[in-house]
């Protein structure tokens, strides 16, 4: 049986927006474009629209579908699934909330996927080729390749440019495991095409994608195992956050295998059989599907970057300076193709930097960005700024003000107490260096800290900001008040 999805009406709608089947590429103008954008993902689309608003002649070249990874294989479909998974997670805890548990919480996987496709199709309207054209952007579908330092070719047409932006994004990396390719596996580019919920799922990789989807599929009813070749999930995150995530996954029923590597895959009787090794402990697991989430690699091949004199590395992507300029001063790069922080919002922010620097002779620096991020597990794990270890490595004295969510009234009433707000400040001032939040809505809460950091608002000022009661974001003010208490002279405290 083919477990992959057959196109639905929603899929036809989405493709009509982001990759119209009857599309005919325009004829390039005789004058060079002010900006040619290679890649129609978040970075490319933001750059194109920003440039058009400045009155520039702009072309976008996309080889697959507009919207890029975010719309088609990433944030949008995964968050749609995660929302449904949350419903199932809450249903199973109905008694905990004093509610009657439903007699059945059977999972209608087809309906879940159909909702995801409906949402994806709806959001794709914003990224549609038609809308771009109406805005004045020349949209080309096809493979782009540089033909020189100031021109590219796409579908036999030559596009000359004054400036170009490489925003080709990234693709899933594949773990080098013997037998994996032969057995078959899912990535974020194929998992959303599943038509049938796998009964048993092995997720290889404990990064954000692996953790999010492991939890979601487990909540849908798949017997899910996650194998992570490190002591904790999300290795870059704070230890306590990663530990809470491990416990959350285990509570959901995910079989957590930390420090565990998948070393071999074979197919036996229609099952995918995977050999796992954890130090000296060897085990074997049989599953119906394998999902890999071991990271992403930038899309740099096939662009003939050599012809344009653009330096790159297959693993780290296009080499850029702090102004996002490549080794060819006419050509810039943005988004996952060049940044270590591969997020939609950094793609957006970096694209705006490029437009300012490329078309307005600006001097905006990527290093000046304050970049938050979030892993959308339940609870969510969000971070902005420096980690404590980074601060200490830079000899910055740091102290952390922590509010466990179990000290926050709204988290208690919501039954969402597992987590914390940690705000790191410079030891001798109220300057915020960074923050980590683990909470059900950490992704929403982190924005307040990001705003404070960007606007140079110290923790003392946050203590004066009245937060609506009861909200979970009060944890941020509570941390600020804890800071304020440490600033009181002893005599004032006694009064």
């Amino acid at each position: 049986m083919d477990d992959r999805l057959q196109p639905s009406e929603y899929e036809r709608q989405r493709l009509a927006n982001v990759r119209p089947p009857q599309w005919r590429n325009p004829v390039p103008p005789r004058k060079p474009y002010h900006l040619v954008v290679i890649g129609g993902g978040p970075a490319g689309l933001v750059a194109a629209e920003s440039a058009i608003e400045l009155g520039a002649r702009v072309a976008v070249v996309e080889r697959n579908a507009l919207g890029g990874n975010c719309l088609n294989y990433g944030c949008v479909p995964s968050k749609a699934l995660i929302r449904t998974a949350r419903v199932y997670g809450d249903l199973r805890l109905a008694r905990h909330y004093g509610a009657c548990a439903p007699e059945t919480s059977d999972v209608a996987f087809a309906a879940i996927m159909e909702r995801m496709r409906r949402i994806r199709a709806r959001i794709s309207r914003v990224d549609s080729a038609q809308r771009l054209c109406e805005a004045g952007v020349d949209v080309f579908f096809g493979e782009a390749a540089f033909t020189g330092p100031a021109s590219i070719e796409v579908g036999g047409a030559r596009l000359a440019f004054r400036r170009a932006l490489i925003a080709t994004g990234a693709r899933p990396d594949t773990p080098k495991i013997p037998g994996l390719a032969e057995a078959g596996y899912l990535t974020n580019e194929t998992v959303f095409d599943l038509a049938v919920l796998p009964k048993r799922l092995l997720v290889i990789g404990g990064g954000p994608l692996g953790c999010e989807l492991a939890q979601a599929f487990c909540r849908f009813g798949a017997r899910t195992t996650i194998a992570q070749d490190a002591p904790l999930f999300l290795p870059k995150e704070e230890r306590d956050a990663a530990q809470l995530l491990s416990e959350a996954l285990a509570r959901d029923g995910v079989e957590v295998r930390l420090n565990t590597a998948a070393v071999r895959v074979c197919v036996d009787n229609g099952e995918k059989v995977v050999d796992l090794v954890s130090d000296d402990y060897h085990s074997r697991i049989a599953v119906d599907e394998i999902l890999t989430g071991v990271g992403r690699v930038p899309n740099v091949s096939g662009l003939n970057l050599e012809a344009a004199g653009v330096a790159y590395d297959a693993a780290t992507g296009i080499a850029t300076d702090d102004f996002l300029r490549t080794s060819n001063r006419r050509i810039y790069a943005a988004g996952d193709a060049t940044l270590a922080h591969a997020f939609t919002h950094t793609a957006d922010a970096s694209a705006r930097i490029v437009v300012r620097n490329a078309l307005l002779r600006g001097k905006a620096r990527v290093s000046a960005l304050t970049i938050p991020w979030c892993t959308y597990t339940d609870p969510e794990i969000a971070h902005v700024g420096l980690y404590v270890r980074e601060a200490r490595e830079r000899n910055i004295p740091v102290r952390t003000f922590t509010i466990p969510m179990h000290d926050v009234d709204r988290a208690i009433t919501d039954g969402e107490e597992r987590g914390f707000v940690k705000i790191h400040v410079h030891d001798h001032s109220d300057r915020i260096l960074g923050a980590t939040i683990v909470a059900r809505h950490a992704g929403e809460m982190i924005n307040e800290i990001t705003l404070a950091m960007v606007a140079n608002i110290g923790l003392s000022t946050l203590a004066r900001v009245i937060h609506a009661y009861p909200t979970q974001a009060e944890a941020i003010r509570a941390a600020a008040i804890a800071f304020e208490r440490t600033q009181l002279p002893m005599r004032s405290r006694a009064r």
Binding site: A230, D240, D280, R392, P397, F401, D427
Partner: protein, 434 residues
Amino acid sequence: MIAAIEPADDALLDALERAAFGYFAADWDCIGGMPADNSRPGAPISIAVVGFALSVYPIAVERGWMTRADALARSLSALRFFAASEQSGAPDATGCNGFYYHFLDRATGRRVWRSELSMVDTALLIAGALVAQRYFGSADADETALRALVDGLYGRVDWRWAQNGGATIMQGWKPECGFLHYGWEGYNEAIVLYVLALGSLSHPLDESCYLGWTATYQWENIYGHEFLYGGPLFMHQFSHAWIDFRGIRDEFMREKRCDYFENSRRATLVQREYARRNPHEFDGYDERTWGLTACDGPGGTLAAALRGDGRNFLGYAARGVPYGPDDGTLAGWGAVASLPFAPEIALDAARGMRDRYPEMLDGECYASSFNPTLARDGAAWTSAGLFGLDQGIVAMMIENHRTGLVWQLMRDCPYVRSGLRRAGFRGGWLRRRR
């Protein structure tokens, strides 16, 4: 300076300390007469428990619970075993490069349970050996032999090898797979490990190794207390059983205007605050009932039967605050082991818990843990048998609180002084003597 103790409190502490010592005074049928990891049938030898035993014997001599000759004989027997043990690193050897496997067969002294060559447990063993070396200081032939044995054991520990080329010490090694993945990150019980490794004359670590470890510290304000975070209580206790951290500071503590002793006091207060809040609504927790640390737990079959309410009960695990794990399991001894740091609340908790949950005591010996949420017939679930680590830390911390005996012995140990200085500790009793 030793705290003044009320007579009634001293009587209680004396009873608890003597009972804990009783674990090590038993006639163990293990090789070298060493105590087993725990009192359950067939339990293996734990090298860390032997370290505690070597530290407790001098206490017992001073308190008149044991003759010096008996203490010396037991200590010599254990040390001679380790000195003669196979160090090939083979899967059934006793150790490698001066380190020892965590668990040893009680009859042969060889590795069991495919346990790891444990760096921190070896350090606890060596710390105990150094206590014995400082205590048995006479010119008597056996005492002289003991001191030489300890120098030999300490000297052959290749601390640099345990770095595996990295910035800090690895946690473990196995012949089947080499060094284990697990890294030491953040503050924990390992200061004594680093101090001993830095104080070694034969294989000393570079000072940067200690800085590499402390670079992962997190100084946090939780419940209004600022401290160097470590979740489980034992992390704030084990190194302190041997080293008197009062008034001496490394670079990190100088920056924070604190010391590790004061830090453990704050960690104790945080434990109490956590129990007051009791976020997971477990039975029993309050200001007088706390102690989340590494201990046994109900886990296993009982857990499976009770998982209906979404709670997950662990077996032997490091429980901690405020992030957990917390399954309602407490260690009564955890509070007692904080006695030197926060005597007023530790004693109050010790009395409170023994009044409410007498089932957690076997005579006057603390069970590894109890869990009031899993009460049956009015009695909290209680861990079976006794664990040597728990008895050792109770005896040592009560004694340190009462007389500071072990602290004083180790203050006089040149390796410890050197290790502390190389780690950057200054001030207090480390000031150079005139």
